[in-house]
């Protein structure tokens, strides 16, 4: 498995597409922070929050995360790299797990600009606001804007960022079975984007139905795991990470069941 991971990381390092994706998330993170900075100052209209949200982490990762799955999993079917891994004696389970690990690393890497830029913005002590449409790093930015952080709060901030990244990776993990089964990047991106819109709607149902909320909290899409702030306690982090890891394991098991005996053209 180490060889497969190293090979994928080598390819990731050489990939122009991945560099472009990192460039896009860096630019989007900057735009998100600048708009959240300008809106409370009145430099741009408050009605621009919708556009500001467009550059937020939750929106960008819904598209770009699936693009990564398209490039690095579906693309490997096109280039027959996955075929080569199997013909040289790697099990299908190993292929799935190694792909999932590298996919998770790639998602985490394209989220890093959001973490870094949000951290820098919060350190500036300025006010940030994007109205009511704030999730993930944008929510962290708007909720904690103006806070003077103590040393322990800086560590807590880092823990929130790490947890957010894990939750995002878990949310995107359903791209893995989609990519292994569909093998078409366009379908993976379209289905996941549609699915992310659906889960946003389900959040509304969860808010009005305690029963559904409890069920939905068992997935990384519910439970307000993307609304962590400095008020969160250890239990919130543990629950978010545990639910995310359990969800990833479940999704990988589903992927294995689907891919275990599938024919490779």
């Amino acid at each position: 498995m180490v060889n497969l991971i190293r090979a994928d990381l080598f390819k990731l390092r050489k990939s122009m597409a991945f560099k472009i994706l990192v460039g896009i998330t860096t630019a989007s993170a900057l735009l998100m922070v600048m708009m959240a900075y300008w809106i409370p100052q009145g430099k741009i209209e408050a009605s621009m929050t919708g556009i500001g949200f467009m550059f937020s982490d939750v929106n960008m990762i819904s598209i770009l995360g699936a693009v990564i799955a398209g490039i690095f999993i579906c693309g490997d079917f096109d280039t027959k790299t996955i075929h080569d891994a199997i013909t040289t004696g790697h099990s299908r389970g190993t292929v799935i797990v190694s792909k999932a690990i590298v996919f998770g690393c790639a998602v985490a890497f394209i989220l890093l600009p959001y973490a870094i830029i949000t951290g820098i913005a919060l350190g500036s002590g300025s006010k940030f606001n994007m109205g009511s449409v704030a999730v993930g790093f944008l929510h962290l930015l708007t909720s904690e804007a103006g806070t003077v952080f103590s040393a322990s709060e800086i560590w807590k901030l880092l823990a929130i960022m790490m947890t957010l990244i894990i939750v995002y990776v878990a949310q995107l993990s359903i791209c893995v079975p989609l990519a292994f089964v569909l093998k078409k990047p366009v379908l993976v991106v379209a289905i996941y984007y549609g699915f992310s819109i659906l889960t946003a709607q389900l959040m509304g149902i969860a808010n009005s139905s305690p029963m559904f909320d409890r069920i939905f909290s068992c997935t990384p899409y519910g439970g307000n795991y993307t609304f962590l702030t400095l008020d969160a306690v250890a239990g919130d982090f543990i629950k978010a990470i545990a639910v995310s890891l359990a969800f990833i394991i479940l999704i990988l098991a589903v992927t294995f069941a689907l891919f275990r005996k599938s024919e490779m053209k």
């Binding site: 060889n3 080598f10 050489k14 891994a85 013909t87 004696g89 024919e263």
Partner: protein
């Protein structure tokens, strides 16, 4: 007991009731080059894909290096090198980076192997040119180089000379022969270019409609294809005596069915016929026989064998 690199036992593959392979039993010995011959859809690629683990048999079994069972097969596949249908190439990487990617994937530590293989397949001067800009022939060469990573004991090549120029065909042919002779590598190669296959393979497997029609060595094939007089008579012993005494030749063969194959005097049909007649041989059949590999293949899949 004979050791086989690859053995299939009644291997069957069907898709929705349509058979791609049917009860195929073959055995590949070490250090030989096997030419897999068959029409489009005969089951050549299906066989290769099942050996490589890309498809699963409907019935029957596969043994690789004496091992069977999914776990053991998986372990033995580390000794394979494959290029099936089209090469495993990442278009945005150079030839060397493609080899590095697959070298890492196979866990091969040597970092000089890329240059050695690029030289071996004639791609050493491609530099940073991306594989997407390669010609079909260059991609085939790169695919063969990737398949050769890790010095495989069984090399499976599906149409490896597709798109190669005539010089490239000769180079790849010589490379495969060299690999077989020097490294005792077993090679299973499919090609529609039968004259080319004839110059490379030491053994032939003819598949038609998913069934193995014939497994034949090069010597047997040459024997079958070699031009000769085929003579039938009721006195084969006397015929042999006439050939040796009157025609002064021992270049003949008596077949199990008592027919005689004469390989001399091919341009002198009338002289041979006259000699036999004058020596009292009552000939019931006297004809020139012999095939090319294409003729032979057609005769096999058509149901009748010459020679």
């Amino acid at each position: 007991m004979k050791q086989y690199v690859l053995k299939t036992n009644s291997l069957t593959k069907s898709y929705n009731g349509a058979y791609a392979l049917r009860d195929l039993s073959i055995a590949l010995e070490p250090g030989k080059i096997y030419g897999l011959i068959g029409q489009n859809g005969a089951g050549k690629s299906t066989l290769m894909r099942m050996v490589a683990g890309l498809a699963f048999p409907t019935a029957g079994s596969i043994e690789l290096f004496g091992q069977s069972g999914e776990k053991d097969l998986q372990a033995e596949r580390k000794r394979l090198g494959c290029m099936i249908e089209y090469p495993s190439i990442t278009p945005n990487l150079s030839a060397k980076d493609n080899l590095t990617l697959h070298r890492i994937l196979r866990g091969i530590p040597s970092e000089t192997i890329e240059n050695e293989l690029l030289t071996l397949v004639g791609l050493s001067d491609t530099g940073k040119k991306k594989a997407k800009n390669f010609s079909l022939g260059m991609k085939q060469r790169l695919g063969i180089a990737i398949a050769l990573l890790g010095d495989p004991e069984l090399l499976i090549l599906d149409e490896p000379i597709n798109g190669l120029d005539p010089l490239g065909v000769v180079e790849i042919r010589n490379l495969l022969i060299k690999l077989c002779e020097e490294r005792h590598m077993t090679i299973l190669i499919s090609s529609h270019n039968l004259p080319e296959l004839y110059q490379v393979a030491t053994d032939y497997l003819i598949i038609h409609q998913g069934k193995l029609m014939q497994s034949i060595t090069l010597a047997e094939l040459e024997e079958s294809c070699k031009h000769h007089f085929l003579i039938n008579c009721d006195q084969p012993e006397k015929l042999v005596s006439v050939l040796e005494v009157q025609l002064d030749t021992i270049n003949y063969k008596v077949m199990p069915d008592k027919t005689v194959k004469l390989y001399d005097y091919l341009g002198e049909q009338e002289f041979v016929a006259k000699t036999l007649y004058e020596n009292g041989i009552a000939v019931s059949n006297f004809s020139i026989q012999g095939d090319t590999l294409e003729d032979y293949f057609i005769s096999v899949i058509g149901g009748g064998l010459n020679g």
